[in-house]
């Protein structure tokens, strides 16, 4: 373990681990609501739009982080407006964000003085070791904001993501909460881009939630477990990437998938373990009827 404790002697590594911790908290906390609403890949659409924001930052020669926040928030709001107006349009809106964001980023960066698509590589795949103290302060402030929204408005956001028709009749400002969630997701994407990269950011919003679902039975527990899995993946992946000399973003994502696999095996083994312990069929655990998923339909 001397190698691991030695890590903290390096300033850049302390910064990297702190950044990883922040992302590990924020991404799954927001991601739980997106998965709840069956919009698991929305983070990916926002990530691609953020690329245009990063390129705009290079073009204007200002901090790419803030232009990315602004542009991705606009993209997320646009997508939410399309989703809320036309039920079937969400799919197309996502496609527009994905391709428009990529093309916009590549175009703008070619116009930026002294920059090329190579300048974007660190943002596409993450470059956690180059996180500066100024970046860290911005990330910490934004993470506190994201966490406050996700925890403080948990019951409200849960109700809106679960059943909009019901939520509006409890007097909740459904439109405003949906827009808040979209902007929160956009902020999370930009917070995470230095750590895991824009191409993989969505993975951290989704995979920890998928992992937590293997063992959690309630929404509150799944959200909490997802944050735990997210923090373990980010911190573990960062340490692993340093030790094995691998890029941080992909290592973090692979770490989260390993945790998902472990939890899936544990969940699958649970009924079998119960069976061998009791010597009976433990039927309740195995034969729980799953879902009667009725797709919501337009009603008259």
């Amino acid at each position: 373990m001397s190698g691991v404790s030695g890590l903290l002697d390096h300033t850049f590594m302390r910064h990297a681990l702190l950044a990883a911790l922040l992302v590990g908290i924020a991404a799954p906390a927001v991601g739980t609501y997106l998965v709840q609403r069956r919009q698991a890949v929305m983070g990916d659409g926002i990530g691609h739009v953020a690329l245009t924001g990063v390129a705009l930052g290079f073009l204007l020669q200002t901090s790419p982080v803030w232009t990315a926040v602004a542009v991705s928030a606009l993209g997320a709001v646009g997508m939410e407006l399309i989703r809320s107006r036309r039920r079937a349009g969400g799919d197309l809106a996502l496609a527009l964000l994905l391709y428009g964001g990529m093309a916009g980023g590549a175009l703008l960066i070619s116009l930026a003085p002294g920059a090329s698509t190579a300048s974007l590589t660190g943002y596409l795949w993450g470059s956690i070791l180059t996180v500066s103290p100024a970046d860290l302060v911005a990330m910490a402030v934004l993470t506190v904001l994201v966490a406050a929204i996700c925890i403080g408005l948990r019951r409200q956001l849960f109700a809106v993501c679960q059943d909009e028709a019901f939520a509006s009749v409890t007097g909740l400002p459904v439109r405003a909460l949906n827009l808040l969630l979209a902007v929160t997701a956009a902020v999370t994407v930009t917070v995470s881009m230095r750590v895991v990269g824009l191409l993989l950011v969505s993975a951290l919003m989704v995979i920890p939630v998928a992992a937590a679902q293997r063992v959690g039975r309630s929404f509150a527990v799944v959200q909490l477990l997802a944050v735990v899995v997210g923090v373990l993946s980010c911190v573990g992946g960062t340490v692993g990437s340093y030790q094995l000399d691998l890029p941080s973003g992909p290592t973090i994502v692979v770490a989260s998938m390993v945790l998902l696999a472990i939890l899936a095996v544990l969940a699958a083994a649970r009924p079998a373990l119960a069976r061998s312990r009791t010597g009976t069929m433990a039927r309740g655990a195995v034969l729980r009827p799953r879902a009667n998923r009725q797709e919501p339909q337009e009603s008259r």
Binding site: C161, F166, S168, V169, R288, N292
Partner: protein, 225 residues
């Protein structure tokens, strides 16, 4: 305040996709009254409920919830709503109790969920016979049981006006009888109830008045009878 009519629709016209669905509907539900809204598919039953809660714009006419148009209505804690084919399940597991607890949002708002909120949720789950399943994931329940959770969610707010859009579609007969008893108790304490139904069934003895819709207009009583 008690004497204000919980729900009143006056000459309501609603269009969907450019087609008229309601064509001048008059409908009132008074305090303690149970009104059944009946009619075939596409007759406008659900549209009437959605217009009543302000989810659909009204092209002409007037909707009033406790004397106030939905757009200016703020006392949503007085309204319990069971949407049609409600999506009780989501992409993340949630327990029966978590889903039913959403029915208390109009009461506690941004304040924390308190003891009286928890008691109301327990009582509502008990009323639909699902208190013993409170900690189960809602995915593990049958379609009819999930529907009863959405009914508990509406009851948890202890509303003065209950709007239920086909709450019985997948609920078995024994539970329909149990639900009829619950609604009778609600009506006895003064709750106004609007029930959208395909068939009256076990609700027969409960219903004070029935309104049969045909292409957006009530069928005259003598024809409906």
């Amino acid at each position: 305040m008690c004497q204000v009519t919980p729900l009143a629709l006056h000459g309501v016209h609603v269009h969907r996709d450019g087609r008229p669905v309601l064509r001048g509907l008059d409908l009132t539900v008074r305090r303690g009254e149970v009104v059944a809204l009946l009619g075939g598919n596409g007759s406008g039953k659900s549209t009437a409920v959605q217009a009543a809660v302000g989810a659909l714009p009204v092209a002409a006419g007037r909707v009033e919830l406790f004397g106030t148009p939905p757009a200016r209505f703020r006392a949503w804690r007085r309204v319990g709503h069971v949407p049609q084919r409600s999506t009780a399940t989501g992409g993340v597991p949630a327990t029966v109790r978590e889903v039913a607890a959403a029915g208390r949002l109009a009461h506690h708002g941004l304040r924390p969920f308190r003891r009286d909120d928890a008691d109301a949720v327990d009582a509502a789950l008990d009323a639909v016979g699902l208190l013993d399943r409170a900690e189960d994931p809602i995915d593990a329940l049958s379609g009819g049981q999930q529907q009863r959770v959405t009914i508990a969610r509406a009851l948890a707010g202890r509303p003065d006006l209950l709007l239920m859009d086909e709450p019985l579609a997948a609920v078995d007969l024994a539970q329909q009888h149990a639900l009829a008893r619950t609604l009778a108790a609600e009506a006895a304490r003064g709750t106004a109830v609007l029930l959208v139904l395909h068939a009256i069934g076990p609700m027969e003895g409960l219903i004070d008045r029935r309104v049969v819709l045909d292409t957006g207009l009530p069928v005259p009583a003598e024809v409906a009878a």
